[in-house]
């Protein structure tokens, strides 16, 4: 675990250098540990693949005070209640107008469209992070055979529900959004409801199973 400062109000707590399940588990555990402390001086926590970003309120504490206090409480990490991951089925209409990049993915990988769907639906994915936009799940780890690069120039807009691939990740756009990932399908599932807590259907650690419809 490596703690460093980022800007005036950020603490980067880094647990490793790659996308990996052990590192993810450490991030997740630390995130729930931080939440369990319910510290007023922490305004936001952003857990992701290999780090937790803690955003703190400089009116209430300082970097040194807060990091020292977190180190003191670390013994408590192994006693924190970690919620059981939820598993969520996501129905997807693959290819066609909904998955307008599937032909590119086929030509880039040498797979048929059916094989792409079969491989994509055969893994239970883990939510490594939620963000960039509200409710977007970064899912992994994708089967190597589906590895595709990001678009060099992102699209200005893809429709809500679009399911995309980039490198060894897959994800779902909860809203119409600019996007650099390759779109292979679309879901009608609502991923984010701003009228109802906890707003996002996913949190870090949850599992996702895609179903072809």
């Amino acid at each position: 675990m490596n703690i460093s400062r980022y800007g005036e109000e950020g603490i980067r707590i880094v647990f490793g250098e790659e996308i990996d399940f052990d590192i993810h588990e450490k991030v997740r555990r630390y995130y729930f540990f931080l939440k369990s402390l319910q510290l007023k001086e922490i305004t936001d926590i952003i857990p992701s693949f290999r780090s937790c970003l803690v955003i703190f309120d400089r009116k209430r504490t300082s970097f040194d005070t807060l990091t020292a206090s977190l180190r003191e409480k670390e013994f408590f990490i192994s006693h924190v209640n970690i919620p059981e991951p939820k598993t969520c089925d996501v129905p997807v209409e693959y290819g066609g107008e909904s998955g307008f990049d599937i032909a590119f993915v086929a030509s880039h990988t040498g797979l048929s469209e059916d094989e792409i769907v079969e491989i994509h639906t055969s893994i239970i994915y883990t939510v490594f992070a939620v963000g960039f936009m509200p409710g977007f799940p970064y899912l992994g780890i994708l089967d190597q055979r589906l590895y595709v690069p990001r678009l060099e120039t992102p699209r200005v807009k893809v429709p809500k529900g679009s399911v995309g691939l980039a490198q060894l990740q897959t994800g779902i756009y909860p809203f119409d959004s600019p996007a650099g990932w390759r779109i292979i399908g679309r879901t009608s599932k609502k991923l984010f409801d701003y009228n109802k807590e906890p707003y996002s259907i996913f949190q870090i650690g949850d599992k996702v199973r895609f179903k072809s419809v």
Binding site: S4, R5, Y6, G7, E8, E9, G10, R12, E18, I19, Y31, T43, D44, I45, I46, P47, S48, F49, R50, S51, C52, L53, I55, R58, A129, V130, G131, F132, M133, P134, G135, F136, Y138, P174, F175, D176, S177, F192, Y194, N195, P198, Y199, S200, F202, Q203, I204
Partner: protein, 322 residues
């Protein structure tokens, strides 16, 4: 009540932001110039982070259908209430039926229009701010349009006054933005970092036309990645004001709408200069200057101390709901 007669190029309802939910990707979407927001609220007797209208572009115009105190802060504008001239950083009393029009933006980019009352709008995820991309918060989740009406409750009259010149920040270009080291500063060659934010001759960047409320793209001499450095990172939590550099080497200043990013981050804009980001307009010249953390902290603390000297508008009489 107010009715939008002309929305300018774009106007939207914002407040101090939406906090505490970045763990599921909810960005803070606050007013880009928080000093201007706080001050417009002081002038109109509201809490510092209360909602107001953020506008850019000329011709913004609205009609009052109640007597209310109003103020404009942020960019320096030439405006009028009917035919009486007004300017930014002062409050004024508006009577029902009168028309407020902004004729010219003289310095800066975004301006803030505030009212001595509480808009009748629903908070979404604890905030009045508009998330334009996801279409929630603010006024029906969107930018304001001609004909939109916003009701106010708890309207009271406050003493009109003007903010002294010494409390009004400069917003003219060229802008010098002070920055701190970012997490991936080592991804770039020492020479290119020196040219970007060093002590001697600093590169001048130009604000691209591709600047919006999410990020400000800059044009100029690209930063050079060190040999062997990755051109992207494993996506990770982002702070507002972070400078991200994609493979083309041209910096993007990330504002408040993204919680996670995947590009290398050579620098972060010091908080003391975040408000200035609201006033970078396409074509403006920008340079960066690296400072240390302690200096950044004391500059920001000093700025907050000065802001605290601006007093709240006084209540004079209660007018009730209109």
């Amino acid at each position: 009540m107010i009715e939008i007669v002309h929305p300018g190029i774009m106007s939207l309802v914002i407040n101090g932001g939406r906090h505490g939910h970045r763990e599921v990707g909810v960005p803070s979407s606050p007013a880009l110039d928080s000093y201007a927001l706080n001050t417009v609220n002081r002038l109109t007797g509201n809490e510092d982070h209360a909602p107001a209208i953020e506008v850019f572009g000329e011709k913004f115009s609205l009609r009052f259908s109640a007597d209310v105190c109003c103020a404009i802060t942020g960019a320096r504008v030439r405006a009028r209430l009917e035919n009486r001239p007004l300017c930014s950083w002062m409050s004024f009393e508006a009577r029902s039926g009168e028309l407020l029009t902004v004729d010219e933006v003289m310095e800066g980019f975004r301006y803030y229009v505030g009212f001595s009352g509480t808009p009748v709008l629903e908070k979404v995820i604890e905030s009045y701010s508009t998330n334009l991309e996801c279409r929630f918060g603010g006024y029906r989740g969107r930018a304001l349009q001609k004909g939109d009406r916003i009701d106010f409750e708890n309207i009271r009259m406050v003493d009109v006054r003007r903010i002294q010149e010494e409390f009004i920040p400069g917003m003219n270009q060229p802008h010098t933005l002070r920055v701190l080291k970012g997490p991936e500063i080592d991804y770039f060659t020492a020479d290119s970092l020196d040219g970007f934010m060093g002590d001697k001759t600093r590169m001048v960047f130009t604000v691209s036309t591709k600047a919006n409320r999410t990020g400000i793209r800059l044009e100029g001499n690209p930063l050079i990645f060190r040999k062997g450095a990755d051109e992207s990172i494993i996506s990770e939590g982002l702070l507002p004001g972070t400078i991200q550099v994609p493979a083309d080497g041209l910096p993007i200043i990330q504002l408040h709408e993204r919680t996670i990013g995947g590009y290398a981050r050579p620098a972060v804009i010091a908080k003391v200069d975040h408000d200035l980001l609201a006033h970078l307009k396409p074509g403006d010249s920008v340079t960066f200057k690296m400072i240390g953390l302690e200096e950044a902290e004391s500059l920001y603390d000093r700025k907050m101390e000065i802001a605290a000297l601006i007093k709240n508008g006084h209540r004079r009489q209660q007018c009730g709901n209109l």
